[in-house]
Subunit: 393 residues, 2 copies
């Protein structure tokens, strides 16, 4: 269940602590978060497939490969992407300084970084901050950690779920508001659990869960260079059933996915698109993505305009799906069927009223089979343009 920001402190699961601080990456807000496991944690990760992936992604991918880690460093306000060999050297320096200060191996440190592309970290300030890390790390506040990894996010994003009937829990933090159509994982999400689980089971559960959550999310069709999701398990709460852990992970990931969609740049509404009665899950996902990514659908949702013709257009542009027959397609806004239908002006006014809510659901039944998929996005507002027409300069 999603945790409302700024209420009920969310504590990290047993076995984890965090450091949250400011190294002056961009301004005086927190920009360095370190999640620390008091003994080797089981680790799994999924990363962007971008051909412009940065050194943080390369390093984390290599360091998580053995299924074990001690620390996850998240630097915000600077992605350290497309900086060439000097950017790679900077990333290694960060990992080495953190490892030295915490008394762990560099290969047990993971790194993620988001923010502006093509600009170096202010290394002097950053190294000074890392060399002066207060040890031992004692923080437990997940909301503070979530706030520390924000760039242009407007709210910190945390979620928590209990594994089965307890005592193990899963706590997740995430960030991301733009450049969001994750291809393997979202911008940055870290999932912590005190469940005891082996690396293969954790990795398998993560991969199963990410497909229907973070990878079902699109703010703006733009896949980040820095997408990273990492799961760490301390084992402090003892063994759990794998199915129950997967369910708790899925609960947390879905909550974080919805929080990210709702906080999309300039967004005023969460847009959920359900496609069912499809030939296959991949067909359902393809059509759902076409709808959730259509700027014409997104602006209609923004204007609470029941313009179902644009949904029909978005379905129609999946032109390689030649089994889609417009005479078998059904389109609904919420529970209200709008196509096929002969809605009068009053009916449409009704639908328009329902679209003024802060969540809008578009539901399309294709009539080509029995598979389904749900994706998450947001409306497109003039605010998105304002935010992005003038970001670096």
């Amino acid at each position: 269940m999603a945790v409302p920001p700024d209420r009920d402190p969310v504590l990290l699961p047993a076995g984890f602590t965090c450091h949250v601080g400011n190294a002056g990456i961009k301004d005086g807000s927190d920009d360095v978060v370190i999640l620390f496991a008091d003994r080797p944690a089981t680790a799994a990760g999924m990363f962007t497939r971008s051909r412009f992936a940065g050194p943080s992604v390369d390093i984390s991918r290599a360091h998580v490969a053995d299924g074990s880690a001690r620390a996850m460093v998240v630097i915000s306000k600077n992605a350290n992407v497309a900086n060439g060999p000097v950017g790679t050297a900077d990333a290694h320096t960060v990992v080495e300084r953190v490892a030295a200060r915490l008394g762990v191996q560099p290969s047990d440190v993971l790194l993620a970084s988001t923010g502006v592309i093509g600009r170096r970290y202010p290394m002097e300030r950053l190294v000074a901050h890392l060399d002066a890390l207060p040890v031992p790390i004692t923080g437990r506040d997940a909301v503070a950690a979530a706030r520390g990894i924000m760039t242009t996010d407007t709210v910190p994003k945390t979620a928590r779920a209990v594994v089965g009937t307890g005592p193990a829990t899963v706590v997740g933090i995430a960030k991301g508001v733009g450049m969001i159509e994750p291809d393997m994982a979202t911008m940055i999400a870290v999932l912590l659990t005190d469940a005891a689980v082996d690396a293969a089971a954790l990795d398998g559960a993560l991969r199963q869960v990410v497909g229907g959550t973070f990878n079902a999310l699109s703010i703006d069709t733009d896949t980040s260079t820095s997408d990273t999701v990492v799961a760490l398990a301390s084992g402090a709460a003892g063994p759990v059933a794998t199915g129950e852990l997967r369910a708790a992970l899925e609960d947390v990931c879905r909550s974080l996915t919805r929080l990210i969609a709702r906080d999309g740049e300039g967004a005023t509404k969460l847009l959920e698109v359900v496609v069912d009665r499809a030939r296959s899950e991949s067909q359902a996902k393809r059509v759902a993505k076409a709808i959730v990514n259509s700027p014409l659908v997104k602006t209609a949702v923004h204007g609470a305009d029941p313009n179902w013709g644009r949904v029909a257009m978005a379905v129609g542009k999946c032109s390689d799906d030649t089994d889609i027959d417009q005479e078998r397609v059904v389109i609904r806004f919420g529970d209200r069927q709008v196509y096929p239908a002969q809605l009068g002006a009053e009916d449409l006014a009704d639908v328009a009223r329902s679209m003024k809510a802060d969540e809008v659901r578009v539901h399309v039944s294709l009539g080509t089979g029995a598979a389904a998929f749900t994706v998450y996005g947001c409306d497109l507002s003039a605010g998105y343009v304002r935010i992005n027409a003038d970001y670096t300069t």
Copy 2:
């Protein structure tokens, strides 16, 4: 060469006349255009691949199949799409009434229609208009015809080219500002020539030309249900070399493509993206489309912000192109290399100034081969959101 609107009257090629009138489809502006060939014209057409294609597209596809036509009817302000069997019957009625009035076979009449989806034509008014068509049709003004097919276009779009050294010419009219990422052809474009050419040669030339022009255009990634491009050749100017006709068609189609891009909904700039040094034309097109369709690139162009990191991101998200290596990619804004580079604040201010022009060119060299492709689009402004957040209601 593009013809500036509202200057130098553009006349239709020999053998063609047009009717432009108002049938009250939506308001008092012109909404019915009929292009008429005084004898059977050679005809070729390309149409949307949308699974929600309307009956106008179905009818035109069938009627153009024999390579000959006498009339092309364009109805604007209503797409007649997703209206079920009654919409199909309405479309046939339109074709039959026009054929009867003009004394030609229904199978020699083509039909295109754009505007709102899911609403019937006002058939009583429309049929009355068609039954009272002034015959013979005598209009010659291509700009009036281009204005008559507009929906939310802000300028009529015409272009003209001479075939070889003459006397044959090609005149094209087009419309479209939103729901524009043509999959086979653009929203609506009609190309008229007085060259004498057989149907196979005209069809071949059209297909060759559309790939690099209308199909290289994207305003908003949304493929219309109504995309139609039709070429009609009257033969009045006698035979021409096929290569010269293709060159003239390409000139006209490229001009219309640029006019459409520049008039994109809310657009303030034409965005041209050139990708070269690619492994194949299809790789170059895929990367170029990723860039021109990125809302983050489009908003940066709108803000004249030299944020080349977003171009790198868009290249990077073509993640199946594993031969793309960020260390071999070169990014330029106009002629100015921005990656790899260590540009100072003054250099970036220079680039920003150049981006205030009404045409911005992004040029990416992939370093994977020798192929190239150019695509056309526009910036993304708050105006796009305003236009589209409240269109039907």
